[in-house]
Amino acid sequence: MLKIEALKVRRDHKLLAYDMTIAPGERVTLQGESGVGKTTLLLCLAGFVEAESGAVSFNDEPLLTLPADRRPVAMLFQEHNLFEHLSVIRNLTLALQGVDEALILTEAGRLGVDELLEKMPAQLSGGQRQRVALLRTLLRPEPVVLLDEPFAELDAKTRELAADWVQEKVEASGKTLILVTHQDEDVARLSQRNIIITG
């Protein structure tokens, strides 16, 4: 259970408040106008933005006191998800140590990025980069997955493919998913509960 209780975060002189409870394995989408604080919430849960007050716990373990590298959270940022000086495969294997390489290759094939593995990130399109990052985020072991507009740069067909793949992976592993999106079709396809953040 992910509990966010009376959480307050100051961002650009604005105090943002959050209060929600997310069940284990639940898939939640967050929507709201730009600048309302959706990304800020994800960054706070992941440990990159400090909370001013309130509490966040996962399975009764408080998260706010943990540093980012000890939180049970895997996050996909809006951008800059790959190390630019490492090849795609090195980006994947570096972050997925202990994961069978055959599995990585299989899942890369399903997302249509298996032929890009030897390339450098700069040689990839925005959509390809996002799929590589998605692959890495979902194959990591953390039980909470935060995705910040993961399909923003994908065309309609690839978007459907990637969304189905995310749903399958999250369901199979029982992970808790929080996904920020502006697209209603992502909500319809993936979400069990949609939360509108009003600020």
């Binding site: 992941a46 440990g47 990159f48 540093p67 980012a68 590298d69 000890r70 959270v73 895997a74 996050m75 940022f77 951008e79 800059h80 998800n81 790959l82 190390f83 000086h85 490492l86 570096l94 972050a95 890495r136 990591r140």
Partner: protein, 353 residues
């Protein structure tokens, strides 16, 4: 730090009746290779730290954040994020520190301790000052120029990274070290501070032993004012010359003439490897038959200081101006700004250097 100030501090600390002498081995002698090595570490460590810090600043925030998010270990973070950024400049940094030490003059002259520990730079000085042997001084100067210049060219061609370039804007986000690592870093930092500050602190105590109330402060005024005047003049000339030298560099870059850009850049910074002693020998030999050097000696000092700092000015201004060109050159040309307006924009950019 002024070299002679440092040397005085080192003598107070490590000299024949130095404060730290009881802690040192019996055969310790500041005058010789020990002292020269120690002084060069003092002089070049801040430069190396500054250079490495600039490289660390080149690591973008998202890379740090991503590394933390992916739970990379400290060793993985070093191997995959820090080392790739540092590696291109490590060889260059070692090479440039080598050139700076190779061209060292004041340290070797003060702490050389005899012919067994001397450099070409000191040999040139001795050939001129004591023997007045101009051919010998010139042959030493050329030898030094060829060795240092050759190495400089190799490093300039092979190396990457903005040597002595301006700092990037401060980053907003850095991972905080753990408790133990943080304490270890702080201890390291403190030790380095003590190491670097000790010579200065020792000078303060040494000065306090004198009768400061009856000291003739007015006698200091003239040399201080003269030094300040020479420094200001050299700085102003160097900034103007540096800016002008970069005009053909920027033009060559705009036209995509890589080879010409490299050549004019090298010409603009070549006095870095022609040390003050080599340049002064050249000017001395050139001007001796035509100018009364005793009368115009101070002007020569300004010229030499200007030449010595021009490469530093060029390297400070270059990245900002090239960045400015890359971002705004087409816009500026399209808006048909006057040269004065362009110059003002340049000044605004350079003001951040």
């Amino acid at each position: 730090m002024p070299t002679l100030v440092l040397i005085t501090g080192l003598v107070v600390l490590f000299g024949r009746s130095g404060w730290l002498l009881p802690l040192l081995p019996d055969d310790w002698n500041l005058y010789g290779l020990h002292g020269i090595l120690l002084a060069h570490i003092y002089l070049n460590m801040p430069f190396a730290i500054r250079m490495l810090r600039q490289q660390y600043n080149n690591i973008p925030d998202p890379a740090w954040r991503l590394a933390l998010q992916l739970k990379l270990t400290d060793w993985q973070r070093f191997c995959y994020i820090e080392l790739p950024v540092l590696r291109p400049v490590l060889v260059m940094l070692l090479g440039f520190v080598f050139i700076l030490c190779f061209n060292s003059f004041a340290v070797v002259l003060a702490l050389g301790g005899g012919p067994q520990a001397t450099t070409l730079e000191v040999a040139i000085y001795q050939a001129l000052k004591y023997d007045f042997n101009i051919p010998e001084a010139l042959s030493f100067a050329w030898t030094q120029l060829v060795i240092a210049g050759g190495l400089f060219v190799v490093l300039y061609r092979k190396g990457s990274g903005g040597w002595l370039s301006v700092d990037l804007p401060e980053s907003h986000w850095r991972p905080l070290p753990g408790k133990w690592a943080g304490n270890a870093y702080r201890a390291c930092y403190g030790l380095v501070w003590v190491f670097l500050l000790l010579p200065l602190v020792s000078l303060v105590f040494q000065a306090a032993r004198n009768d400061l109330l009856s000291f003739d402060y007015l006698a200091l005024l003239q040399p201080v004012l003269l030094s300040a005047l020479l420094g200001i003049m050299a700085a102003c000339f160097a900034v103007v010359i540096g800016y002008l030298l970069l005009l053909p560099v920027r033009e060559a870059r705009y036209r995509g003439m890589t080879r010409r850009q490299w050549l004019v850049e090298w010409l603009a910074t070549h006095t870095l490897i022609a040390p003050a002693m080599v340049t002064s020998v050249g000017l001395y030999v050139l001007l001796l038959p035509q100018v009364d050097l005793d009368q115009y000696g101070l002007a020569l000092v300004v010229v030499l200081n200007t030449l010595a700092v021009v490469p530093f000015v060029v390297q400070q201004l270059r990245p900002r101006l090239l960045q400015y060109d890359a971002q705004y050159d087409q816009l500026v040309r399209n808006l048909k700004f006057s040269p004065l307006c362009v110059y003002r924009l340049n000044c605004h950019i350079c003001g951040r250097c």
